[in-house]
Point group: C2
Chain length 679, copies 2
Amino acid sequence: MTARLAAASALVSLASAPALADEGMWTLDNFPAEKVKEDYGWAPDQAWLDKVQAGAVRLTGGCSASFVSSSGLILTNHHCIATCLYDNSNDQSDYLLNGFVADRRENELMCPGQQAEVVTKITDVTGDVKAAFAGLAGDALTKARDAKIAEIESANCTDKAKTRCQVVTLFGGGQYKLYQYRKYSDVRLAWAPEDRAATFGGDPDNFNFPRYSMDASFLRAYENGKPVSTPNHLRWNPRAPIDGEMTFVVGNPGSTSRLYTQSQLAFEREVRLPMILATYSELRGRLIRAMEESPEHEREGLDMLGGIENSLKVYIGRVKALNDPAFTAKLAEAEAALKAETAGNDEIGDPWADVEEAVDAYRALYYPSRFTSPTGTLYGYAQTLVYAAQEREKPNAERLRGFTESALPLTEKRLTDAKPVYPWLDEMTMSWSLSKAREYLGVDDEDSKLLLGKESPEQLAERLVNGTKLADPAVRKALWDGGLAAIEASEDPMIQYALKLAPRQRELDEQTNELYSGPLAAAGAKLADARFAAYGDSLYPDATFTLRISYGQVKGWTERGKEVPTTTTMGGTFERATGNAPFDLAPGFVKAKDQIDMDAVYDFVTTNDIIGGNSGSPVIDRNGTVIGAAFDGNINSLGGNYGYDGSINRTVVVSTEAVQEALEKIYPAPALVKELAAK
Amino acid sequence: MTARLAAASALVSLASAPALADEGMWTLDNFPAEKVKEDYGWAPDQAWLDKVQAGAVRLTGGCSASFVSSSGLILTNHHCIATCLYDNSNDQSDYLLNGFVADRRENELMCPGQQAEVVTKITDVTGDVKAAFAGLAGDALTKARDAKIAEIESANCTDKAKTRCQVVTLFGGGQYKLYQYRKYSDVRLAWAPEDRAATFGGDPDNFNFPRYSMDASFLRAYENGKPVSTPNHLRWNPRAPIDGEMTFVVGNPGSTSRLYTQSQLAFEREVRLPMILATYSELRGRLIRAMEESPEHEREGLDMLGGIENSLKVYIGRVKALNDPAFTAKLAEAEAALKAETAGNDEIGDPWADVEEAVDAYRALYYPSRFTSPTGTLYGYAQTLVYAAQEREKPNAERLRGFTESALPLTEKRLTDAKPVYPWLDEMTMSWSLSKAREYLGVDDEDSKLLLGKESPEQLAERLVNGTKLADPAVRKALWDGGLAAIEASEDPMIQYALKLAPRQRELDEQTNELYSGPLAAAGAKLADARFAAYGDSLYPDATFTLRISYGQVKGWTERGKEVPTTTTMGGTFERATGNAPFDLAPGFVKAKDQIDMDAVYDFVTTNDIIGGNSGSPVIDRNGTVIGAAFDGNINSLGGNYGYDGSINRTVVVSTEAVQEALEKIYPAPALVKELAAK
């Protein structure tokens, strides 16, 4: 599961024009200080921004976070570490259900696949990368670009144990920037509330407000078995927010499509979103029913269901946004305005037409590309093993993105970290994805035949899942270490299946590069040039799961004529409870009822512009202290993938005041309270 | 389940302009003989049409059919009577799985809820109905219109045992016609192949061709315990179709929206279809998983799954059509052309604007209207009982449509016919629909609160389904007979729940009439006048599940550059079989393999314009003899709800030659063979 966050809708901004008030996921090297000062009378200076950057954490699980003590303590959301609770649970101890408080540091729980990263340096490498593919097109362009990126990353991060380098594509190819990170690959869980406290209201309340959710938790970064020292942490400030005060959200918004052209939006609306809506809704249904079959299924399926329902709500919101004529008209106007600004500029030409041609070509590649990689944890392991073995035979510059020297350590960590696999869940998922492949590709399609042979989706999934040994991390490690020889000699049916599919997947990748990604990279650079020429640097790039800052204020909104309040209180959750899931109170809340300060602010909303990936981001006041953790957007923000509307888009935050209440009274953790209070 | 049929897509006709070649679902009193003669050199005369009308049968289950012997024998599709097989099955004898051949007439199986109807007279009552609501608007208009319709129906069908009257609204309110039927309310099953033979290829092959499906069966109409005499039957002609020969499909297409205005299409695309796609896909997933839980669930869920998957494929096709800019551009052009023709005509004014206003108002009513009537067989019984009791207290003219004197007999039959109810299935369906209600209406919505109170969807569904006695037909009959007093005194929780919801449902109905249906009826009449003024009578009305004829020819098509053949052979099914569901051969086919004529034509395609409801329609040659039963449309025809494209839309038919093979060699029924051969 990546995150619960999203941002933007109806009075949408002009996507490629200068940002509206409070709009923007700004890179920390291009903060719009002047504009902010104009709007708010105050803006952070570079020292303030540097300090915040040093305390901001990216979690490779797909979330954001922040250091909040000098001993590596990390604040993030509960839903960002739910998988860690789930991976550490079993029939005897269900940490997801019951929450977790480490009685001492030695008992903090390892989180498989999780890694914490802090940006240490940002360097512009646009010139180098663009020069590498100048004059090239299609697949040749993407190969030359990726080779240069691999070279830059490799040269700048020689200490692979502690650093990570990533070249990030901004403005769809207008800029390339090298992000260097200090990384911490041993991350453990220190504190988490009960799942019922974090997910009170469940899917029905997700993306809604008023809200009553303790969506917070604490991790800790380790190195050599010891907590790391983090003197540059942010300061924990357990106070209530003040209506109208300025707030900054610093985190890693995952992905937005605000710079999409009309033809890209059409593809989303016409092809991609309807398919996702139908197929994921079916998976949701299969899983809901399966979880009713037994308490084990209920527990083992919970994490996946949360992820599916969250994603579906996001996609339903996107469908709604792209089916809203007022919303899409604004996007069309923005494109028309940029075209008008660019008219007659021969250097820019007509990149919109190039994008349209690429999108048209992609229409024939999309279903095959999507469906020839079946879904499932075990198949995913097999595919990674097969690709890694094949790619590692090549020089660094020729490898696929996830397998370059700079990317391999995280890929290996994710593959080999021990985590439970539930065969019934994998069989269900794989059977679903194979049957959807046949449905969307057609029975007589060659890719369908490659995927299924004479077997049914159900039979094939059962045979592969029951026959594979890849659930065992030692088996995965041995195959990883054994390289291509071990993979090719393997009799594991899942490995053999992944080997069988790989050539076709690679062929589709190449076609996609040739006809779609390559042309898009070239056109993207031109579109970015057009924007820079028209609007200067008053622009922010689409989200790329890299560090951004958004500014705004604590503020409610008006929904269908009714004022929505800015905050909820701890007492409100007792009033909303019905006794029935998902509106049943967490037992810890019931038990601590008499101690809890009913007037303490629980959750609150701000105008910050965020999206999925921002989950867990610290919400910071003017003084740079943490007053909450962002965990959601409101329902109006679901079109935020395409555009932002400050009048109704809101970020939903759990307040530090509420978390402090929980730390002191509901899930007591006196050591953490003390640690957070230290200067 | 209603039907597998649909029709129309890309080179779509101008919806409100004169029909293209082979387009049209024509009423039998307005057949375009001149145009057909021009295109084909021959056209049927009125005597031919009258003969065909006399042999054409409507099945109240939602299908079409035809009399094919003088002793009441009826040809229709297997999927039209699958529910009858299902209702007659149990753990001991699974007729759906094994098929059914009555060894003698006394053993033919009763089909609950099924009724056969033959049109005997069509009368234009447009003047009467329009006069009744002249000068009225909104809810008052719909009330006056419905009162007049009830009066006409009641006055013209005094023999309620043998006749049925229905006033049908054509051209969205341009015409009102009284259809009188001879009805046969005792319908029994004589012959059906194995489910695997009818549904070979399952959902993957549904709406596709080449096809290998024995989607045929025979019913028989009874009266007073004896087969009825049907001298005006059509003649059974067990021969192969000839490439290019003319074909006529006579049946009851259920519903099309080809006369929709742009604002109605926008509502479909923006609101209705995405919701249906997501919610029904989830139900599909729940049911797929539930059916894997046990052989009983597998058997008991099969019929519903077939219906859901069929509907979903139709809706996915509609989404695709309305997301195809080429397709929708044609529809927009057609509207623009009609507007241009009408410009300056003050009598017509701007009905498009009236429709848009009505649709805008409906946006706020749609979710509440849809979700305040939960889904489920048992809840459906309760709702019918409550409404019937309340409506029967009123004079005929003031009752809701399904409860007028003319409609009550079928309503009562459907309610009281014995058929199995599977509580797990009803609980699943109801729990699903209540949870979707909360999702789409929102937790804090008043209708959500009315539906759920403090209970969860799962709890409420369990309590109502486990507590109700309505699965027992005797209980339903007693409550029906007991009227309002019995209903209000009932302690059945499902009845109490239906009573609780009824006032809000009625309020929403009235608001819908006032703001949507009433304005649409008035605007529809004007739009029809505009069409008649511009194009004369060279028009066919949208489908209304009343008798229509479509003409065309036996003809393949070109799909992505490849010729699709016109026919398949019995031998082809053996080649396509993989041994795995849904491509596993029916055991009967395996057993009879050496006897079957491998070159016999199995299924074939024609250019006829049909849609769901046409399932089971006789496919008739120039001589008026039956050469097949239509059972499907091809994949391109799924946009047929909105428009027809003769170049790629096809009707899929099971040939009489194949059915004859089955009757003689696979599922031998010598008595039927003899009966069909008789003159």
